[in-house]
């Protein structure tokens, strides 16, 4: 990694022709990936990523340069080229930067078995056992694939405000998929547990249970009818069901879009934007949670941020740049995939907090609607608020009871409207793991919620209207 002297020098060079702020981000990540298809190991590879990204901010403009080199000469040249992006000679050039004593975040997210200490074979064995469990569970299962990933990421951040911080993040995850075939059709089921932890995660997380869950999902869906198309009430199960809020309002509450006026929630602090049952939290400090970090990728400590409280908009997720634009304070929400990206405001572990409605009553109150048990993925346009997500395991509710499984539906809605349509929130909050792709790259996030009901959504099925 880089030493303090070099980092100070790079900041100094970067600001030579002007600018308000400069930052150096260095990263060293050891990564292992094992993929299987069926009981066969397809790929098992380890390697190291190493690189440095330098950021220069002047006014409302952000300039970034990165290289995957550790050579001081290359980095000095990179900083010099970056400094030339900025015209004019105002700003803090010539100022002597003194970095405050190094502070390292440690112990907030304890780990025991660094993944490099675990043989590749053990990792492959985990996946093979999962495959066996999945195929044993239902004769319709014809194929599985699995992807094991672990990462040991060390970062260093130094900036022109004198910050110098480091963090080490140990992560592990398996994404398991089972495929079932029936009468010329095929459907898939998924499960993807992970944590900010070492390999000891698999002592408490039984991967075979997840494999069986994925297999049962696939086997149920392949025998299912098409989902109806139209507008219906939707009950979304707890856990990854939180994806609806990740898409419906999560991205629209990220500071970058809000501060540029590109969000439906710009300028609405203090206003009622959701039903009284909705409290939305983003918390990057939850111990060992998949979306957590000790400090964010600008060096700000992570914390619990209540974004919506009983329907009232309280806060946004703020990185330094967007916070400054709005006269607010950065709150630990700045993230980037790697040194190849400038950081920006992003989610971490995002969830709807527990309410007090009964889950069984939710069903009883639904005459004709969809029970979305597992969601797949989705996307949103924060400017308009239009969002979508796919249901990978669904059931039709008729007269208050689950009638039959249904497959193949995407649900769409608008963030500004959907939050008001939440009329019941249960008390069985659960968080599950996923990925989020946006401006600063792909990052690891959790999403969660209790089981809840949305009064009306457009359901994009194919069956009889």
């Amino acid at each position: 990694m880089l030493n303090e002297t070099l980092m100070t020098l790079l900041i100094d060079i970067t600001l030579r022709h002007g600018g308000d702020f400069a930052e150096v981000f260095a990263e060293h990540t050891d990564c292992t990936e094992v993929t299987t298809r069926g009981s066969r190991v397809e790929n098992a590879v380890s390697g190291t990523d190493y690189g440095v990204g330098i950021r220069l901010i002047k006014g409302d403009s952000s300039f970034y340069a990165y290289a995957n080199s550790s050579d001081p000469q290359t980095l000095r040249t990179l900083a010099r080229q970056l400094s030339e992006s900025v015209k004019g000679n105002d700003g803090v050039s010539g100022q002597v930067i003194t970095l405050k004593p190094l502070w390292t975040v440690s112990g907030l997210h304890p780990f025991k078995n660094a993944p490099q200490s675990v043989a590749m074979r053990h990792k492959a064995d985990l996946l093979k056992a999962a495959h066996a469990a999945a195929t044993a569970c239902d004769p319709l299962i014809v194929q599985t694939d699995a992807r094991y990933l672990d990462q040991d990421q060390t970062i260093q951040i130094a900036n022109s405000n004198g910050l110098f911080a480091t963090d080490r993040r140990m992560r592990t995850r398996v994404l398991f998929r089972a495929m079932a075939a029936y009468e010329g059709r095929m459907e898939s089921g998924y499960s993807g547990p992970g944590a900010l932890q070492g390999f000891e995660f698999y002592d408490t997380c039984d991967l075979n249970t997840h494999a069986v869950k994925a297999a049962q999902m696939a086997a149920t869906m392949v025998r299912a009818d098409y989902c109806p198309a139209g507008k219906f009430p939707v009950i979304i199960d707890n856990g990854f069901g939180g994806l609806i809020f990740h898409e419906a309002c999560g991205h629209s509450l990220e500071g970058a879009a809000v501060s540029k006026g590109n969000s439906v929630f710009t300028g609405k602090l203090g206003q009622e934007i959701a039903s009284e049952f909705v409290t939305l939290v983003d918390d990057g400090s939850i111990q060992n949670a998949w979306g957590s970090t000790g400090i964010d990728d600008e060096g700000t400590p992570t914390q619990k941020n209540i974004l919506i409280e009983n329907g009232i908009l309280k806060n946004y997720m703020l990185d330094t740049f967007s916070a400054k634009r709005m006269g607010m304070t950065a709150n630990g929400s700045s993230r980037r995939q790697s040194y190849r990206f400038a950081p920006t405001s992003r989610m971490s572990n995002t969830y709807i907090d527990n309410g007090s409605h009964s889950v069984s009553e939710m069903f009883e109150a639904t005459d004709n609607g969809l029970f979305a048990k597992s969601l797949g993925a989705g996307s949103v346009n924060p400017t308009t608020g239009d969002f979508n997500f796919s249901v990978v395991e669904g059931y039709w509710i008729k007269n208050g009871k689950i009638e039959k499984p249904v497959r193949g539906a995407t649900l769409v809605g608008n963030g500004a409207e959907i939050l008001r349509q939440v009329d019941r929130v249960g008390d069985n909050l659960k968080l599950e793991q996923g990925y989020c792709y946006a401006a600063s790259g792909a990052i690891f996030v959790s999403m969660g919620q209790p089981t809840l009901r949305v009064q009306s959504m457009t359901v994009g099925g194919r069956a009889g209207i």
Binding site: V41, N43, F63, N388
Partner: protein, 464 residues
């Protein structure tokens, strides 16, 4: 000031060449019977604009390599971002370690020991790295201004980007093969925001070419701006089955989402419903699909794949009949065929898979206006969202958030939004009843996929 470089000059690289020499010497001395290495050097620039000024600039320079090696009959893989001569020994050791562990890695096929000498390729119209950043920034601001000026309701853009990169690829093996090529890709993209009262609509337009001069910023900006303004009209529609015209970019997005069905690795693993259908009619006779890694100006143009196989154009579907799948060496061996040169890695860390390069549905004969008249009454879809979520390449099913316009008597009328379109890709291919002449490609992430606008007599639309 742009210097004209010949490929030979631009692609000669003493640092890499001495590294390769050391690598192969070290590998031979440690008992590896074969090594190959693919190196990619990328130099790029990404500009973002907003509010009439440059908001962001990212410049980067990277060099990555992916290696395969044979040790005692087993294959090992590794990757690196450090290509100094001193690293050669570490890499060889990593290959040996990986090969030893790959007692578990039961991939049957081992890399073919290709022989051959040195070949240098240049993608047409490429290679000259434009250096004038100020000019490119001004160009991007022209794009933004064109979008905003396209209609009075357009207030701003929420996305206005220019991205260019210059890529050099090298492929060497210990049998003396030495393949080199270089090329450039530039993309401009803009999303215009139109506002009327409480309504906010956005519309997106993008273009990719080999050189910034190929991108028509004014036209692109006007396209996004005027479409955003038109989208302000109308609302949802009744749920039901409708005749649908999928505009070219929407059809391309669908083809891209379903492109895995043409990849032999999915087919052989029983993950594609096209299995067993070679020689059969799988689409309407108006549909022909091509993959051409030699397309001039294609974003994924490559003269050799990541296994060192020289590439060529491939007909996948001809007048509705499935002619071929995409193959790499491993799938070709399993299917008793020859590789089609589609052994491609997603990135330097991944293994060699099967992927399309430049993939498209061939254009038809009728104009877009004639296609609308052929449909007469129905819905024209101009945008779909959530393709990575709402497309299931295994089942063929799709359900996507969509927006567009009603078509009445062959003419575009009110806007339609807040809907989904759903169907099955294989049914859609068979039912295509009209193909326009307006072939257009999508964004250059991964495969570069294009399509003309298509008319499909019936898709399910969910709205009210």
């Amino acid at each position: 000031m742009e210097r004209q470089l010949t490929s030979e000059v631009a692609l000669s690289n003493p640092i890499i060449e001495s590294f390769i020499q050391r690598l192969f010497d070290e590998a031979a001395s440690k008992g590896l019977s074969y090594v190959d290495i693919g190196i990619t050097e990328k130099e790029g620039l990404h500009l973002t604009a907003g509010q009439g000024v440059l908001e962001g600039l990212t410049a980067y320079n990277e060099r990555v390599a992916a290696l395969r090696g044979l040790y005692q009959g087993k294959m090992g893989t590794t990757y690196t971002e450090q290509l100094q001569v001193e690293e050669a020994a570490n890499l060889v050791q990593a290959l040996i370690d990986s090969a030893s562990l790959n007692v578990d890695c039961e991939s049957d096929s081992l890399p073919a020991h290709k022989c051959g000498g040195r070949q240098v390729f240049e993608s047409a119209l490429s290679g000259n790295a434009p250096t004038d950043i100020t000019g490119k920034v001004n160009n991007l601001l022209v794009l933004e201004a064109a979008a905003v000026q396209a209609a009075p309701e357009v207030q701003k853009t929420d996305y206005c980007d220019y991205h260019e990169f210059h890529r050099k690829r090298y492929w060497f093996n210990s049998m003396g093969m030495d393949l080199r090529e270089w090329g450039s890709v530039c993309t401009a993209a803009v999303s215009a925001v139109a506002v009327k009262g409480e309504q906010v609509r956005t519309a997106f337009a993008a273009e990719t070419g080999a050189h910034p001069d190929h991108l028509a910023m004014n036209l692109l900006g006007r396209e996004a701006g005027s479409l955003a303004a038109k989208c302000l009209s109308g609302g949802s529609i009744a749920s039901g089955s409708y005749p649908v015209v999928l505009v070219n970019t929407v059809a391309a997005a669908l083809l891209e989402g379903f492109s895995p069905v043409f990849c032999a690795d999915r087919v052989l693993d029983k993950l594609s419903l096209l299995e067993g259908k070679l020689g059969q009619s799988i689409a309407s006779d108006l549909v022909s699909i091509v993959d051409n890694p030699r397309l001039e100006g294609g974003a994924r143009t490559m003269h050799f794949d990541d296994e060192g196989t020289l590439t060529k154009k491939l007909d996948l579907v001809v007048n509705g009949v499935l002619k071929s799948f995409l193959h790499n060496e491993k799938t070709a061996e399993q299917a008793a065929l020859t590789t089609t040169g589609h052994g491609i890695r997603s990135n330097h860390k991944s293994s060699i898979e099967v992927q399309p390069s430049n993939l498209w549905i061939e254009k038809g004969r009728c104009s877009f206006d004639k296609l609308l008249m052929q449909m007469d009454n129905g819905v024209m879809i101009t945008d779909v969202q959530g393709t990575f979520a709402g497309i299931n390449a295994i089942s063929g099913e799709f359900s996507l958030q969509a927006s567009g316009f009603k078509v009445e008597n062959g003419k575009v009328t009110d806007g339609v939004h807040g809907i989904t379109i759903s169907g099955n890709f294989f049914d859609l291919l068979r039912e295509v009843a009209g193909v326009a002449d307006d072939l257009r490609f999508g964004m250059p992430y991964g495969a570069f996929v294009g399509s003309p606008s298509l008319y499909v007599p019936s898709l399910t639309v969910a709205g009210e």
